[in-house]
Symmetry: C2
Subunit: 258 residues, 2 copies
């Protein structure tokens, strides 16, 4: 039921504008274009990307909207300081995840999710918004009845986490679901390198849901925290594979270089 379409919630890459925004956004987030750096003029840059100035400008507007750049006449388009980037924007998030060579990214990520998602689970248990809780069940059931490391299983996982955020009844928390999607897809790609990891997490999902059903707010919160910590350990095992302590091994799991 959940098809590819759900993946399109981030800025569309079908259009030329989308492609340029994606390409430039990635370069900026990955540091290939440094903070404070001024991009080539529209004239030159659009030619470099083989698109019209119009298409290029629209791409820049997209990046501007996400806080990545700022354009001014006579100055040019300058990359804004990292502090101003909207890291919680699903696209920025996804771009950033591509360069997640260091464990820093994974750490910040799980630290953040550990703040957000357990509380969302608690709120879901306390508020008991029936229809929304049913959607959690739906995701969970598919997770339990499909093979781990399949597309369908991942989609169910995404649906589960999105449903929890949604069932928190807080629209700011709900807004994080696109971001969490980007993350889950990232960790799916990482963790599918190693067998058996994902299967183990299904019961943890179940116990989160059970607590919510029982209206056990603190239980749900703890269960979710447990689930995330478990996921973090799995990821750490891979991203930081047998630490002999040197930089090289940490960098070994390189990003998808273009």
């Amino acid at each position: 039921m959940r098809e590819r379409k759900d993946r399109d919630r981030t800025f569309s890459r079908r259009s030329l504008t989308g492609q340029v925004a994606h390409s430039l956004g990635m370069q900026i987030v990955c540091g290939e274009i440094a903070e404070g750096e001024v991009l080539a003029t529209e004239e030159a840059a659009s030619r470099a990307h083989s698109v019209s100035r119009t298409a290029y400008r629209e791409a820049i507007k997209v990046l501007t909207a996400k806080g990545l750049v700022d354009s001014r006449p006579k100055i040019g388009t300058r990359v804004r300081p990292r502090d101003d980037w909207n890291m919680l924007d699903p696209d920025v998030m996804q771009w950033a995840s591509k360069l997640a060579t260091t464990t820093d990214f994974a750490d910040s990520l799980f630290e953040f999710r550990l703040i957000i998602e357990p509380e969302a689970a608690r709120l879901a248990a306390e508020k008991q918004l029936e229809e929304k809780i049913n959607m959690i069940a739906t995701g969970l059931e598919i997770m339990e009845t499909t093979e781990p490391s399949t597309q369908e299983n991942l989609d169910a996982d995404l649906a589960f986490h999105a449903a929890i955020l949604n069932a928190s009844g807080n629209e700011f928390l709900r807004s994080l679901n696109h971001m969490v999607d980007a993350l889950l897809i990232w960790s799916f790609e990482i963790s599918s390198r190693k067998e058996g990891i994902r299967a183990a997490s299904v019961p943890l999902h179940r116990s989160v849901y059970n607590c919510i059903l029982k209206r056990d707010g603190n239980g749900a919160k703890q269960a979710m925290a447990h689930l995330l910590q478990s996921a973090r350990e799995d990821i750490d095992q891979i991203v930081l594979p047998d630490n002999e302590g040197d930089q090289a091994s940490a960098n070994r799991v390189g990003p998808t270089q273009r």
Copy 2:
């Protein structure tokens, strides 16, 4: 020290494109243009706004980047379901705050901040990133030495909260600072209707800082929670001025129904 420039971190309203994006974005977030609704064609809409198609299209790209709309040939530009909006985007946040007539908005808001900011304070206390903690002090000192309800005092308040998020050492938390800015400005405008409210909060800020200095993570967390709860009560007093309906106040914690 902190001038107007800091207020410009959201999408610039100087350009025509910015004005149109602002106007349309506001209409969408406020529900004047409903979810699922299809906007007029570029041709018509741009004329309605008295701008060129170029400027209008660029505005649409901005809204697309924030998840508010989606354009396709033969379909037109359609307002996406509320679930897809990036509520954490500073601009969207600011637009949404304009329609905060209901307490729902304030409630969701404080619920969210109560999840985020106390944890940020705890992390700041635990990680002890010296330079960043100094920035907290700077904001606090200005708060303590300026008149409440002045621009300077508000700016110091913004700086204080931003510094805490920053000192959490987590870049996702840090990203929330623009959003929190929008909120603080909103509550400043609300609360400045009533005298004396803001002065009372200064000691609460101080105790958050003291806990961070003492490396008391849980203390900092609780102090921040206390600060926010106090702010919430102040706002509630004004937004919901002497509730005549007990029913209404009982349901107050409810979700944003639609």
